[in-house]
Each structure stands twice: as structure tokens, then as C-alpha cells.
């Protein structure tokens, strides 16, 4: 047998600042200092008037409550029905009971609402450590969030770089494949041009790579100027370009644009004070040319039309034929450079 001990009310206040000493009817005979701080002077009131016991449910009498002595109770202060406090009740010799409480997971709210300090908790209570941990966790989380944002910025920058042709700033092959794949998969209507420079190799060979690079940048500028913001203009090879033109399937409009490009690229450019003459040939197709537009198929079609334009004497644009895969015969349409 362990000896019973007598503990003063003041000692209880220190050990359990959130305790209630109840009499046999559930009237409050004494309340811990933190409870008084929160609920005011509650001596003489009934615990059942102050708290709604939610677990176990339906307890309104001391005798019933004491049958759950030692178990975990869940209670809400009537003033804050949303808060779920924890409690434990044990009977004491005077026929009453000690009901010790804690804020449970509402501790953060409780501290904020009632401006509690470390002095409102027993030194053995880890509630303050929990607040410390929440705060430290938030700090770490904020850092992770910032890190994620920086990584996301770096990722999109890297992605942008991986889609850009460094020499001209146009999109590259990969970007074109993605855009074309998306357009086909989304069953969007679009026009597609395959443009190849004429006589570019000569410029490169006679005037050097610096001249070639200069010309390519000039061409890129022209292509950008003649196309819309939503078009994809890609450099897909040394002097090869592909242009994807969303919603532009009208053959006359496509031919008109191609004619303008051929005309502008056929004008002499300046390199180091000397005129420098190239030209362009263009093969054109559109999503309308196929029942089920397919990127490889469309590119092949545009390529065949380009081939036909080259064969017909360069410096012109050709529309692909629906008889896909066959080189366009009989010159279905032709655009010649304006003077």
C-alpha cells in the first residue's frame, strides 16, 4: 500500500495550473491560476455549465463522469465550442474529484487568444516547446518555399534556354517539336512552313562564318517581324527554319505571307559595307491537308513542297499537295518574289 499524501491547493496550482477541484456535485471548489486567467472567477459554478464533455458523450453527472476516472476526456469550454481540450479526472477523498485539463491541439490558438506566457504553464509541460517547434517548423518551411521558388525560376530559365536557338534567339528544333506535337494532339488548325535559305552556303564559304552568323540573325529578325506573336519560328538546321502558324490554314493567306518572306529575304543585305545576296525557298502545308494531322507527316509534306520550290528554280514558295508523300507535280500554286 502506498501512503496517501496531502497536497495543498497552492501546490496543486503550481503542478497543474489548469486543474479544477470539484465537489461531489461537480461544483468548482478551486481552479488553477491559468484557468482563472482564461475563464475568470469560476468558483461555485458547475463544471457541466462551463464545459461540454464530448468524449465520452452525454455525461452530465459527477457519478457518470467518475466512472471514466483515469481515461482521456475531451471537453469544450461553452464559450469556445470549437476548442477541444483534453482532461483527466480522478476522485479524491473528500468525495469530490480533481479534473486536470490541457489545451490539447488548441494550444496555439489558446496562447494567442488569452495572451498566455510560459508562466501560465507548469515547467514540466512541453506546451511551450510545442510552440517553439511550430515556430521553428514554420521558419524551415518558409525557407523551403523560398528555395522552391528559386529552383522554379532556375528551372524555367533552363527550360527557356533549352528551347532557344542561341545564335538567333529563335526557338530551336526541340521547341518546334513540342509546339507542333501540342498543336496536333489538341486538334488545332495551323499552317506550317519549311523555309530554306538559297545561296547561304556561298556566303558562308566566301565571306566567312561571321558573315553567315550575321545573315542568320538578319533572317531571324525578318521572320519575327513578318509573323505574329503567337507563331512559333524555329531554326531547325544550319539555314533551315520552320514556322508554325496557329489558326492560319487559308492557302491564299499562307501564300501571301510566304511571298512576303521570299521577297524580303531576296533583298541584298549588308555585311561590312558590302552587299550580300541570299534568297529563300518555302514549302507550305497546313493541318487541313490531313485528316489526322501528324507532326512527322506534316513536316515531311512541307519538306516535299520545299523540295519542289527549290527544283522549280528557288526564290519561291509552294503549297504541298493533299496526295501526301508524292512530290507536288504540276505546280499547284506558286509565289514569286515581288520586285
Amino acid at each position: 500500500m502506498t501512503a496517501d499524501i496531502t497536497v495543498s491547493g497552492r501546490a496543486l496550482d503550481r503542478l497543474m495550473p489548469l486543474h479544477l477541484h470539484l465537489d461531489a456535485q461537480g461544483q468548482i471548489r478551486r481552479a488553477g491560476p491559468t484557468l482563472i486567467h482564461i475563464l475568470g472567477q469560476i468558483k461555485g459554478q458547475s463544471v457541466f455549465d462551463l464545459f461540454h464533455i464530448t468524449r465520452p458523450t452525454g455525461l452530465m453527472q459527477m457519478a457518470a463522469l467518475l466512472r471514466h476516472a483515469g481515461e482521456q476526456l475531451t471537453l469544450s469550454p461553452r464559450l469556445q465550442p470549437a476548442a477541444a481540450w483534453r482532461g483527466q479526472i480522478v476522485p479524491v477523498k473528500d468525495g469530490g474529484a480533481i479534473l486536470n485539463l490541457s489545451f490539447g491541439l488548441n494550444v496555439i490558438e489558446a496562447v494567442r487568444q488569452h495572451a498566455l506566457t510560459a508562466a501560465d504553464f507548469a515547467p514540466t509541460d512541453l506546451a511551450v516547446e510545442m510552440l517553439y517547434l511550430v515556430e521553428a517548423k514554420n521558419a524551415v518551411l518558409d525557407e523551403f518555399r523560398r528555395l522552391s521558388l528559386r529552383l522554379e525560376g532556375a528551372r524555367s530559365e533552363a527550360e527557356e534556354q533549352s528551347l532557344t536557338d542561341p545564335l538567333t534567339g529563335l526557338r530551336n528544333r526541340r521547341a518546334l517539336d513540342l509546339a507542333l506535337g501540342r498543336a496536333c494532339a489538341g486538334r488545332q488548325a495551323f499552317g506550317l512552313m519549311h523555309l530554306d535559305l538559297d545561296k547561304f552556303k556561298q556566303v558562308n564559304d566566301t565571306l566567312g562564318h561571321a558573315a553567315g552568323d550575321h545573315i542568320l540573325r538578319q533572317v531571324a529578325q525578318t521572320l519575327r517581324a513578318e509573323t505574329r506573336a503567337g507563331d512559333t519560328v524555329a531554326r531547325v538546321g544550319g539555314d533551315e527554319f520552320v514556322i508554325l502558324l496557329p489558326a492560319m490554314t487559308d492557302q491564299a493567306a499562307l501564300m501571301a505571307l510566304a511571298g512576303r518572306l521570299v521577297a524580303r529575304l531576296g533583298r541584298p543585305m549588308d555585311w561590312d559595307g558590302a552587299p550580300c545576296q541570299i534568297g529563300a525557298s518555302i514549302g507550305i502545308t497546313s493541318s487541313q491537308m490531313q485528316d489526322r494531322p501528324d507532326p512527322a507527316h506534316l513536316l515531311h509534306q512541307a519538306d516535299l513542297a520545299l523540295y519542289a520550290a527549290k527544283n522549280a528554280g528557288r526564290g519561291q514558295a509552294r503549297l504541298a499537295q493533299a496526295s501526301d508523300g508524292m512530290p507536288p507535280e504540276g505546280a499547284p500554286a506558286q509565289a514569286t518574289p515581288a520586285a
Binding site: A115, A118, E135, A136, F144, L147
Partner: protein, 190 residues
Amino acid sequence: MNGLVNYALEGFLRSTYGAAQWQTIAQRAGLGFDRFEPLLDYPPDLTDRVIAAAAEILHRPRDTVLEDLGTWLVAPRSDGRLRRLLRFGGLRFLDFLHSLEELPGRARLALPDFQLPDMRLRDLGEGAFCLQVQDPFAGAHHLVMGILRAMADDYGALVLIDGGDGAITIQLLDATHAEARQFDLAVGAP
């Protein structure tokens, strides 16, 4: 998790001496980058190299750089987070002093692989204390001295702090010399 220390050092140097000076220091330290990530690990000698470079570029003794860093970490001009976490140590400056021994344990609660230096506090009587700091890098106790000075201000305590050879002596002259800065336990309070 020394990234946190390096990140703090960078933040202190950047905000106190400007971005250009920080770039110079980062270059002198041979970092090869100019931004520390607080949650990453770095080679252990990097911290030392940055401190040495800062001392050289700023023409300040190394110990002073570290002590200023300590003060800056707690002072209102940084984001104030460390100050709040430290104030969880106790209601009065004396409680805070005693809580320093628990600090590495507290830090590990939040970040399991964050290693703070071991600290031992000896009560010499009559308001005098000796804090033994196990330096994870040379002169780390000067950083702790800076933190102590700033925290004493925060608590409104008047103290004399002296350091040498990894040990700090603290003479508490008046625990309530000035009004303490407000500290609210509630999460996210200033």
C-alpha cells in the same frame, strides 16, 4: 546543416556592407557562387574562408566580424526569427542563460542534423557566470558573445560580457535595467 550558418553570414554581410562588398568577399573566399542555400550542406571549411575573407576585405578583426554577426542575428534589423526562438528559452535573462545548455537539443528538435556547439554554464555566484563554448569553427564563441549582448538588451538586462579562449564570462549587474522588449508566445507574433 552548416548552410544555415553560411546563409546567416551572407545575410549579415550583404545587409550590413552592401551587395558589392559581399561579391568581393565571396570572390576572395573562392566560393564560385554568391548565394548560400540555408538548407544545404557545404564543405566545412567554407564558413572559415568566408569569415577570413570578410575580415580581410572589411579591415576588421575576425572576432569583431563574428561578434557583429551574433548581434545582427538577434537585432531587430534581421527578420527577428532567431530572437523569437531564443526568447522561448525563458521569461528572464537568467532563465535564458540557463537555457543555453538546452539550445543544441532544441535546435535538433527542429532540424535533426543541425549541430550547434555544446555550451556549459557555470554559476560563479554573485551574478557571475562562465559559459564554456565548444567552438565548431575558430572563434565561434565570439558569435555567441554577440548574441548574448543583443539578448541582454532584448531582456532589458545590464550585463558585462567578456570572452577569451572559448570561455565567456558574464556579469549580471541588473536583470531589470531597462524595459524588456515585448515577447508574445503566440506563433507569428513580433
